[in-house]
Symmetry: C2
Subunit: 209 residues, 2 copies
DNA sequence: CTATTTTTGTCAATCTTATAACAAAGGCTT
DNA sequence: AAGCCTTTGTTATAAGATTGACAAAAATAG
C-alpha cells in the first residue's frame, strides 16, 4: 500500500465505494469488475481502477476485485478498523437524532456522553447515554480520552466549545453549526453545513427548470 | 450576468460567500476587496475575483465590492429571491430537528407539512406544522405544489418515497438517507450522507496523527 | 488637477483531476 | 492445452480548477 499523498477527491469517494461494496455483500456477490461497479456506482470504470490503485493493486487481471477484501481494505483506509470514543455537545433535536443513529456505533463510533447548557435536559438518558452539564465537558474529554466531538450547539457557542475541546486534546470535530471553527493544529474538522447544502439545492432547482 | 455554464466548484462556494458577506453586514462593513475577503474566508483573492466574475462584474477597480449588493446578487443566483414550499417526510428526531430550524424559514424555505408512517406521531404539531399520514403525501404534494421535500425516513423506504414525490411533481429532494435516490428528470437532489462525512473525518484523524 | 495607490477583470500558466488507451496478466472455453 | 476473452494497472492525453501576473479603471492623496 503506497502512502504518498492521496488526493482529496479520491478520499471523498472512498465512503461511497465502501457503501456500494457493502450492498454487494448483502446480495452475496463476491466478485466485481470495475466495469460492473461503474454501472451501479456511477463513476467511470477508469476512475475506479485509478482510485483503487492509489492504495495498491487489490484487483486481479481477468477477474476483477474481491468484494469482501476490497470492502475491508477501504474500511481500513478510512480508519474503521478501530473504535472511536465520541461525545455530543448540544442535546437538542439534532444531538438526539445523532445519539439515536445505531449505524455510527456499528462502525466503531462509540458515544460516551452528551452535554448541554439546558438544566432541564441534564440527567436525561438518550439511547442509554447521559446528558451532562456542559461545564464538565473539558474535564470529561481529557480524562476519558475522547477522540471525536459532534458539535450540535447553536452558532454563538460553537467556537467557545471548540476551544474547550482543543484545549483538552480532542482529535476530531464534527461540526453541525453554520460556523467555520478554528481549531488547534492537532485536531481535524468536517463540517455539515446544512444551509449551504440547501442553498445549492435551490440553485440546481432553478437551473433545472 | 452571463449564464454560460458555471462550474460545480464555483456553485458550492457561493453559499460560503453569502454567509461571510452576511457577517460583514452585521458588522456594518459595506465595502470589501477580494484581498480582505480572502483573509477572512480563506479562498485566494484571485479565486474570489474569478468566481464572482462568472456572474458579471460586481466589483469596481480601486474600490472593491459593495457588500450588500454582492450579498443580494449571490442570494439571487442561489434562488433566495423567492419562496419555496417544503415538506418533511419522516418525523423522527432528525425530521423534528429540521422542522425546528428557524433559519430555513428565514431564507424563504417554508415548511407546509410533515409526514410519517408511525400512527403515534400523526396529528402532532412541531413548530406549528402538523404531522400527517404518509399515505396522504402524494396528493398533498401535487395539490399544494410543493417545491422541496426533505427525506428523513429510514433507508428502506427512501426510494419508494422518492418515487411518490416525483410522480406528484416534486422539484427538489433533500436526501438525508444513506441511499442514492433515483429521480425523474424534472427533479434535482442534494444529499446529506452523514456516515460518509464521518468516515472521511476518521480518515483525516488518522492522517493527522 | 496630477500623481500615486488600490483593486478589479482577465489572460496565461500551473496544478489537479478525469478519461482514454493499451500492454500484460490471468481466467475461461473448447 | 491452446487460444480467446476479460480485466487490471499504468501511462498518456484531455479537461477542469486554481493561482499568478498585469493592464486598465477608478479611488485617494497631495
Amino acid at each position: 500500500m503506497k502512502d504518498n499523498k492521496i488526493s482529496m477527491a479520491v478520499i471523498r469517494r472512498l465512503p461511497k465505494y465502501h457503501r456500494y461494496l457493502s450492498q454487494l455483500m448483502d446480495r452475496d456477490i463476491n466478485r466485481i469488475s470495475s466495469k460492473e461497479l461503474s454501472k451501479i456506482i456511477g463513476f467511470s470504470a477508469s476512475q475506479i481502477r485509478q482510485d483503487l490503485n492509489n492504495f495498491g493493486g487489490f484487483g486481479q487481471q481477468g477477474y476483477g476485485y474481491n468484494v469482501e477484501a476490497l470492502y475491508r481494505e477501504i474500511g481500513k483506509i478510512l480508519g474503521l478498523d478501530r473504535e472511536y470514543k465520541t461525545v455530543i455537545i448540544g442535546a437538542g433535536n439534532l444531538g438526539q437524532a445523532l445519539a439515536n443513529y445505531t449505524n455510527f456505533s456499528r462502525f466503531g463510533y462509540k458515544l460516551q456522553a452528551m452535554f448541554d447548557v439546558n438544566p432541564r435536559l441534564m440527567g436525561l438518558r438518550i439511547n442509554d447515554v447521559e446528558v451532562k452539564d456542559v461545564d464538565l465537558l473539558g474535564d470529561y474529554v481529557r480524562e476519558n480520552n475522547i477522540d471525536i466531538a459532534y458539535v450540535c450547539t447553536n452558532r454563538s457557542s460553537a467556537q467557545q466549545i471548540a476551544d474547550i475541546l482543543c484545549k483538552n486534546g480532542i482529535k476530531a470535530v464534527w461540526n453541525f453549526t453554520p460556523v467555520d471553527l478554528v481549531l488547534k493544529k492537532g485536531a481535524v474538522v468536517e463540517n455539515i453545513h446544512l444551509i449551504e447544502n440547501l442553498f445549492t439545492l435551490s440553485y440546481f432547482l432553478k437551473e433545472n427548470e
